[in-house]
Symmetry: C2
Subunit: 233 residues, 2 copies
């Protein structure tokens, strides 16, 4: 038996159903590389009086540890945000089902819906885009192509940054790829400490948004209520 | 003070943060017309030992009752799913901020991320579409135009049905608008009783999917892992 459990974005986001499953589980695993969780894992362990083993990307994606344990034991796999927003977890769900392991998904708040705090309508977003940390020989152009495709269709784009990456770095990348319009920067969305800013890339990139997680929205065509909201920030 | 609180999709989806806020609130309101909540309101009232007043669409959208109460008192407004997926609630957030009322948004699981249970990648969805109950003189074509725009871009479309509407009726509407491809029907997603089916519209429309909520996904281009997942259903 496998529970795929979302932790949401902040400490208090854990649902009653998630806590019940964690209490029933024989083994608890967690990962924090697909996105940032601002909660306190130690406090959760104390509440449950159980150890939670944090897995690296390699142990989640290359080894079949979680599924092997779940064949015999009741395993809970805790992940930041909603458990099925990251493709990795959808893949674990598919492999577990194919192997005949019973899986229950316990959903949680995710940036995909929390982005509504910017006042932008969820119904006007095109596909979200992940912006990876640039590497020495790896400067993918596809995120910017996807943003441009959304813009051509009048749609907003949620730009999800690599774990730990800051808005300033992402804004520099947007600028290098020829963008100079107004964008939204949202920091720590879904927590009590959230902050949202709207302005030109060249101005926002000089600002400090505090600790991550940060996301960016490149807005498409703005409805007047969206425009009013952003301009009131 | 106003808390905009998401109830998620099922009974156990309420977060610790949401319960804390409900306990602190002087007045509790709820609405269930923007989408379906499969939970039990009576049980929640018992747990809180407080009355929750259910508001009609008119009282939410035409009267400023919630905001007027929130000027003086600590008001919690409970809504199904995530509080900012429906445009109505984003509008209340905007008006509360404009009126200088302190607002805290408490997020919850939403169909927007739970749709990942279909094995379709969240990153490949275009904008979601709402399908209203057809009225005597009201047969909007815009939902179908939006689905076609997503299809042209290779993107999936989440089709959110009017509260209480069944998949069969929506499938008939898709068919009448010239669609005949394979689609996904998901019933009671995010609950323990979820069921998902994949097939041709003409076959699925003969099936009974049990009680609502139902949603439909019109898939765009399928990644082989998505195709495998759907075909294993």
């Amino acid at each position: 038996m496998l529970w795929l459990i979302g932790l949401g974005m902040a400490d208090g986001d854990i649902s009653q159903r998630a806590l019940d499953a964690m209490r029933k589980a024989d083994r608890l695993f967690a990962e924090f590389y697909t996105s940032t969780w601002t909660g306190d894992l130690g406090k959760l362990e104390e509440l449950l009086k159980k150890h939670i083993e944090v897995l690296s990307r390699e142990r989640v994606e290359q080894e079949d540890e979680i599924l092997e344990q779940a064949r015999e034991k009741r395993v809970a796999f805790l992940v930041p945000g909603d458990p099925l927003v990251a493709t990795t977890h959808a893949d674990i769900l598919a492999r577990a089902r194919a192997a005949g392991i019973k899986v229950e998904v316990i959903h949680a708040p995710s940036i995909i819906s929390a982005i509504g705090e910017t006042g932008l309508h969820v119904y006007k977003f095109g596909p979200p885009v992940s912006l990876p940390q640039p590497q020495k020989d790896y400067h993918p152009s596809s995120p910017f192509e996807k943003i441009r495709a959304n813009l051509r269709a009048g749609l907003h784009t949620l730009v999800i940054l690599d774990t730990g990456m800051r808005a300033q770095q992402a804004l520099e990348m947007l600028e290098k790829n020829g963008m100079e319009q107004s964008v939204v920067v949202a920091a720590r969305l879904g927590t009590k400490d959230a902050s949202i800013a709207y302005g030109k890339i060249k101005d926002l990139k000089k600002q400090d948004f505090g600790r991550p997680p940060h996301v960016i929205v490149v807005p498409g065509e703005l409805h007047f209520t969206e425009k009013e909201f952003l301009e009131s920030l």
